[in-house]
Subunit: 304 residues, 4 copies
C-alpha cells in the first residue's frame, strides 16, 4: 500500500485543525522541545518501511521504554512476575498512590509508573549490570548501537521524581521492593531517558508483531504465548486512564510516552510509531492519537 | 478445523482439574442451576457451526445482554452516548458506587451495571416500547423467535436489586437519568433475565465478527467503525475488574454474565460462546475462562 | 452577664464584613428565605434567656433535628445502636456514598445523612407512630405545642432526595435497613422539615446542658453518661467535614442545619442557638459560625 | 479527692478482665517491653499530684510528642500553619496516603503522621538547631532535664519508616515540603523516640489545662485562644480514626502513642497520663482507654 501517501493526507488533515495539546513541562529537556515536529514510521513484518516527516529525529521515549524493560524481565524470569504486579487496567491516572495503597503495594500493571519501578527492582535482582544490559537489549532489538540514555534527562527525572519516590517507599513498606531504593530509582530514571526516533521505535517493537521473533535476526525474544500476552497488556494498560479511549478509537495495542511518542503493534502485520510532542490532558500525544485513529479507520487495519 | 475435537480435548483436560468456582446464589433461579453443565459453540462468519456439550440448553445470559442493549442504542442514537457514559475500564468491581460518585454520576463504561442502567434510560427515551423492541432486536439477530425474558428471574433481580437502585438514584442525583426510575429499572431487570443457549448466543453476536452485518440476512446492524469500537469496548470493559486478565489470557473481545456464560468475538472470523455455571471470585465463569484460554492458545486464534 | 449587649456588639462587628455565604437553593422553600435575617438566643440551665434579632422567627431546622431523633432512639433503645452506626467523624462531605460503601453500609455516625436515615429506620421499628411521636417528643422538650413539620418542605426534600435514596438503598443492600424504604424516607424527610425559632431551639436542647434533665419539667431524657456521650458526638460529628474547624474555633459541641441554624451546648451552663441563612462552602451558616467563634472568645466560655 | 483510691479500684476492676490488646511489634524496642506494666498520674493545676503503679517508669511516648512539636511551632510561628496543614479529623488510619493524595499534599491535621512530619519541616525552617531546641522545650515544660531522645528507637523508626518516607515524598511532590527530606525525617524520628514517664507527661502537658501558662514557672507557652484551640484539636484529632470513640467514652481532649501512653487534659482542672503497653486494633492503649473511660465516668470529670 502507499502508506506514505496516506500518512501525508492524514497529516495535512491534522494541520487544518488546532493542536490542542501541551508539551510536557515538568523537566526542562521536554519543555524545550520544538512542539511542531511530527514523525511517523510503519514497518511490516516482511521488512518494508514507510516514513513521513521527522521520522529520523530522536526524542525522549519515556514510558514507551516500560514495555522494553518488562519484556526483558518477562522473557528471562524464572520466578512469577504476577505475584508482584497485577495486570489489570488502572482506571486512575498514571501516578496515583491511592490504588497502590488499597492494593497493598501491588501495582495494577507493569506499565504504570509503580509497576515499571517494580520491574526495575526485579531487573536489579536478576541482572549483573542492569543499566548496561537494558541498553544492550534495546540496541539488539533495534539493530542500532547508537541508541543511548540521555544522562541530563535521567538527572532531571530524578530531581522531579518525588512522587515516584513516594511510590517505591510505599511498595517497600508493603515488602514489595527487594533492593536499595537509590539503585532501583537510578535504573528507572535512566530507563525513562532513552532516546529513539520513529524508525528505531518501529523496528525495536517489530518482534511483538512477529510472534516474538526479531524478523531480520531470527532471534526469539518471547514465546508466542508471551508475545500475545504482552500485546494484550499493551491493549488494556498502555495508555494510563485512556486505555479504553485508545482501544476504542485506534484499535491496536500500543504504548505512549510523555515525550509525545506512541508505538502501536498490529500482530502478524506491522508496527507503527508516531511522534508529536504536544500532549492531551491524559498525558498522551494529542496529534499522535488522532493520527493513529484516522490511520486505522482509513486502512481498516485495526485488530477489532 | 476439527473444532469439536479440540473442544472435547480441552473439556476432558478441564474435567481432570477441580472446578474451583461457585454458582451465583443471590437469586434462587441462579442458585438452583445444575453446576456441572457445560456447553460451547463456535460459529464462523462463513456460517459453519461447531458445538459441544450442553450447547442447546438455555441459561440466564445476564450481563451478556448489556452488549445487545448497548448496540441497539449505539446503532440508532442521534445524540452522543459518550456524553452520558465514559468508555474506560473500571478497575473496580462491577457494582461499585465509589467510582460513580467520584465521576459525578457518569458510569465508567456501558458494560458495568451503572452503565447498562444508563443505556436502559436512553432506550426508554428513544423507543416506543423498549421491552418489546429489545426482544425483537435480539430475536432478529439470532434468527430465533422463541428467545424470551424469564419473568421470575426479572422479579428476583428486582427484589435483590438494592445496590442497582442505589446506583440509579445516585446517577439521577447528578442529573444523568431522564426517565422514571421504576420504568428504567423494570427494563434493566428484564434485560438481565434474557435466556439463550450457546448456539443462540454465538449466532446473535456473529454480526460483531462480520463487520457489523448479520451474515445470513445481510442486515447491517452497526457501521464498520462502530462495530470495531464495540469490539474494542468489550476487550477493555467486558469482564469487570478482570478485563485485563481475560485479554491477557484469552486475547479476544468478549462479555461474561453471572449465569456462567461467556461470548467472545474474533473479528473477521468467528464467535465462540461457552457456558459453565460456576464463577470465579470476580463473577466470571471459572471453567469458561480456562476453556477459552486453552482454546486460543491451542488454535493460536487470538487477535494479539 | 449582659449577653444581649455582647450579642449586639458581635452582630455590629459582623455587619461590617461581607456575608460571604450563600443561601441553600436545592429546594424552593430554602431558596426564598430572606438572607439578611439574623437571630440568636442563649438560655442558661438556671432558666435565664437572652435574645437578639430575629430570635422568634421560625426557620427550617433541617439537620439539627438529627440530634433529636438520635436522642429519642438512644434514650429508649434496648438494642445496641452502635452495631448499626459508627460514631467517628466522617472526614468527607455529609452526603458521601464513598465511605458508606467502604464501610459496608454502616454510616460513620448518626449525624450525617446516612446515619440519620438509619436512626429513622430504628424509630420506624421501635415506635407505633414515629412521625407523631417525634413531634410529641420535640414539643415536650421545647414546652411548645405549636412546633410542627412543614409538609411543603418535606415534599420538596423528597423530590430532591435522590442521593438520600441512593444511600438507603446502599445500606439496604448491605442488610442494614429493616423497614420499607418509603416509610423510612417519609419519616426522614419530615424530620428535616421541622421548623423552630432560636428561642425554641435553645430551650429544646437545654437538657443536654443539664445532665440529661429538662430543667423546667424535671423530666430525665437521657442518663448523665448518655448525655455526656451525645454532647461528645456533637463535638466530633456535628458539622460534617467542618467538625474540626467548629471545635477549633468555637469550642462547644453543636449541630448545624442547611437552613442556617446552629445550636451549641455548654455542658452545665447554657445552650445557644444562632440563625443566619447564608451558608459557607461546607453547608454551615457563615455568620453563625463567626458569631459563635467571637462569642466564646469574648466570653471565654468554651469547654476547652 | 482520693484519686489514688479511685485509680486502684479501676485498676483492680481492669485486672479482672482480659487485656485484649497487643504490644506494638514493628520495632524491637517496643516489641520487647514488658506488657503488664501499668502506670497513671493525675496532676491538678493547683499542683497536686496523684500516682498509681509504674508512674515513674519511662516509656517511648511516640506520637504524644506530636502535640509538643506542634505547640512549639504554633507558639512561635509568624506565618500561618493552617495554609500547610488542615485541622479536620482524618476518618482514616493514621498512616494513610489515600487522603494525602486526594488533599494534594495537605495533611488532614498536625497529629497524624503526615501532619507531624510537616510540622517538623516547619521547625527545621524556623529553628537554628531543631533537635536540641525541641528537647530544651520539653525539658522546660516538664521541669526535668533528664528527658531525652532514645537514639536506638530513632534508628529503628528510621529503618521501619518506609511509609513515612512515602508521605514526605508525596507532600514534597505537591510542593509542601521546604527542607531536605533526610533532615526533616531525622527530626521526626527523634521526636518519636522521646521517653518520659507518666509523672513527667502529666507535668509537661499541664500548661494546656492552665490556659497556656506553666503553673510552677508562670511562663506563658500559648495564648489562651491558642491553648483552647490546641485542646480542641486534640479532641477531634488526637486518636487517629478512634477520635470519636475516645471523645464519646472519655470526654476529654487527649493524645495517644503506640508505646501505650495516653495523656488527657481537663481544661481548668488537671492533666492525666496513663500507660499500658498493649494496643487495641486502632493503635491506642487498650487498657489506657478503658481506664480513662471509667475514671471520667466515676468522677463525672469530663468536659461534656
Amino acid at each position: 500500500m502507499h502508506y506514505e501517501k496516506i500518512f501525508e493526507e492524514i497529516f495535512r488533515d491534522l494541520q487544518k485543525k488546532e493542536d490542542k495539546g501541551e508539551v510536557a513541562t515538568y523537566i526542562p529537556e521536554l519543555a524545550s522541545v520544538d512542539p511542531n515536529q511530527f514523525g511517523v514510521y510503519l514497518k511490516t513484518v516482511e521488512g518494508n518501511g514507510y516514513s513521513f516527516g521527522d521520522a529520523e529525529k530522536r526524542f525522549s521515549i519515556q514510558s514507551i521504554a516500560k514495555v522494553l524493560s518488562f519484556v526483558l524481565a518477562y522473557g528471562r524470569l524464572k520466578s512469577d512476575v504476577w505475584k508482584r504486579t497485577n495486570l489489570e487496567p488502572a482506571g486512575t491516572p498514571f501516578n496515583s498512590l491511592l490504588q497502590l495503597e488499597v492494593d497493598r503495594g501491588i501495582p495494577r500493571n507493569p506499565f504504570i509508573n509503580a509497576g515499571a519501578i517494580l520491574i526495575c527492582d526485579i531487573l536489579v535482582s536478576e541482572l549483573e549490570n542492569p543499566k548496561d544490559e537494558i541498553l544492550a537489549f534495546v540496541r539488539a532489538l533495534s539493530g542500532n548501537d547508537s541508541i543511548d540514555y540521555n544522562p541530563r534527562v535521567a538527572q532531571s527525572e530524578k530531581e522531579m521524581g518525588n512522587r515516584n519516590y513516594a511510590m517505591i517507599y510505599l511498595m517497600k513498606s508493603f515488602g514489595n521492593i527487594e533492593n536499595k531504593i537509590d539503585t532501583v530509582m537510578d535504573l528507572y530514571f535512566h530507563l525513562c531517558s532513552l532516546e529513539m526516533n520513529c524508525k528505531e521505535l518501529g523496528s525495536t517493537f517489530l518482534f511483538l508483531a512477529n510472534n516474538g521473533v526479531v524478523p531480520w535476526s531470527g532471534e526469539r525474544i518471547l514465546s508466542p504465548s508471551r508475545t500475545k500476552r504482552t500485546n494484550a497488556l499493551m491493549q488494556t494498560c498502555g495508555f494510563y486512564d485512556e486505555a479504553g479511549e485508545f482501544t476504542f478509537k485506534v484499535g491496536l495495542p500500543g504504548k505512549s510516552g510523555v515525550g509525545g511518542g506512541i508505538v502501536a503493534v498490529h500482530p502478524g502485520r506491522y508496527t507503527i510509531a508516531v511522534w508529536s510532542p504536544k500532549l492531551n490532558s491524559k498525558g498522551n500525544s494529542y496529534r499522535g492519537m488522532l493520527f493513529l485513529e484516522q490511520f486505522t479507520t482509513v486502512t481498516n487495519l485495526s485488530i477489532f
